[in-house]
């Protein structure tokens, strides 16, 4: 398994099967793609005055009822003269079991086309991810959560998915800066989310990696409603410029250097649906040197079905 495999999402994992790894160009492709691979994150939430949209590339700390369908990624990169065009089509469904605890299921379809070589296509492994909110403080717009990502080995296509499972315990947080003094003015719409996880491959010969990333967001809704009325209309006020970043740092087994991407983009949050698009910019040559794009359509299930599918199975709504 490659260094980048521990991004622990199907988007990447699918490219790292033994078949692919035996294929040098595709192996390189996989390494690059792993860094780009989004953590297909998706949880939005409200803390005090703050609305946190669902980030696309990285995990955020909310346990919520929602559906990301589809998340589409296009990424072309070159490595040692080899060009590979990667496409991913993914979904994630998250269901609250009780308030503050949710279980997510995600998966996807991968299409990797190295120039001059046959394409590798197929379904990625499924992934199960429970998340539990440890601290939730609306007053300070702060939340922290514990999550566990389990990529279920062997559930995807042999052509593109790993046979062994991998496990990534993760700590996540979110913090809005609305509680800065009024004099901070236009800094108060800022918010950050972050996550750090330790990826444990099922195959012992592969490196363990630290998966870390986050997002810096600027809420126009917060600016408009809590700081200064800018005269934004209903559409503009729902925009959130965001920069996400996602890195993978191997810690053993000669895993190589840190790889990752920085993804600037914009999110639009409606009453029950969110749209987002981001560029995918590799941070170094080990990651790649071509810019990709990722886009997502996201449904707030708890707003669409507030009395049925959108509430926790046990314990009622928060």
């Amino acid at each position: 398994m490659d260094v980048l495999q521990q991004e622990a999402r199907p988007f990447l994992h699918t490219l790292i099967t033994s078949k692919i790894m035996a294929h040098t160009p595709l192996r390189l492709s996989a390494a690059l793609f792993l860094t780009v691979a989004p953590n297909l994150a998706a949880a939005h939430g409200i803390l005090g005055d703050r609305f946190f949209p669902a980030t696309i590339t990285t995990d955020d700390p909310f346990a919520a009822d929602e559906l990301a369908l589809p998340t589409v990624t296009f990424f072309r990169h070159a490595e040692d003269g080899e060009q590979v065009f990667e496409r991913e089509y993914e979904f994630e469904y998250s269901k609250t079991i009780f308030p503050g605890f949710a279980l997510s299921l995600d998966g996807g379809y991968v299409d990797a086309s190295p120039v001059g070589e046959p394409a590798e296509r197929g379904f990625a492994n499924l992934e199960l991810s429970p998340i539990y909110e440890l601290i939730r403080d609306p007053e300070s717009e702060f939340i922290t959560s514990a999550a566990f990502r389990w990529e279920v080995g062997g559930t995807g296509s042999k052509a593109v998915a790993e046979r062994a499972s991998s496990y990534t315990p993760t700590l996540q947080f979110g913090k809005g800066f609305g509680n800065l003094p009024d004099s901070a003015g236009s800094l108060r719409p800022f918010a950050v989310t972050g996550s750090i996880g330790y990826a444990i491959p099922g195959d012992g010969s592969e490196p363990h990696t630290i998966e870390w990333g986050g997002a810096v967001e600027y809420s126009l809704l917060y600016l408009q409603n809590n700081v200064r009325d800018q005269g934004f209309g209903p559409f503009v006020s729902r925009l959130t410029p965001v920069v996400e970043f996602s890195f993978s740092s191997p810690v053993d087994n000669d895993g190589g250097s840190t790889t990752g991407t920085i993804n600037p983009g914009i999110l639009w949050s409606g009453q029950s649906v969110q749209l987002g698009v981001e560029a995918i910019i590799p941070i170094n040559r080990a990651t790649g040197h071509n810019i990709g794009v990722i886009a997502q359509l996201h449904f707030y299930i708890h707003d669409i079905f507030p009395h049925s599918l959108g509430t926790p199975i046990f314990g009622g709504a928060r």
Binding site: V227, S237, G270, Q271, S272, D303
Partner: protein, 114 residues
């Protein structure tokens, strides 16, 4: 495919009574600096409100309430009649519960110039 588009459009536009109530417009607005004191505060939201669980408080720099009467909540709006305001900064704190029981809240300040 058409069914898929229909579902997406429905989710985007047909949920008027089933989502969080976000503030869409306030008068006076956040951060406003007014030459004359407003006689009332009006807040308009993206969803219809549950009157029993929605409200707003306007306070002066000492923390004293400056509403002249009880808050009127109707449809997707809140209205507060204000006492005559002297120059200074005032803080508005609102909370809104939509008909499907989702809660939102917010606060902002406005200033009445001397």
């Amino acid at each position: 495919m058409r069914f898929g588009y229909a579902v997406i459009l429905w989710c985007m536009f047909a949920t008027a009574a089933s989502a969080h109530a976000f503030l869409q417009h306030a008068e006076p607005g956040a951060g406003a600096s007014l030459k004359s004191a407003p006689k009332q505060l009006v807040l308009n939201f993206s969803e219809a409100l549950e009157p029993s669980f929605s409200g707003v408080e306007v306070t002066d720099s000492k923390g004293d309430s400056v509403e002249a009467a009880s808050i009127a909540v109707s449809g997707s709006s809140m209205r507060a009649t204000l006492k005559p305001l002297s120059p200074g900064q005032y803080r508005v704190k609102w909370h809104a519960v939509s008909l499907d029981s989702h809660r939102t809240e917010g606060q902002f300040t406005f200033t009445v110039q001397p």
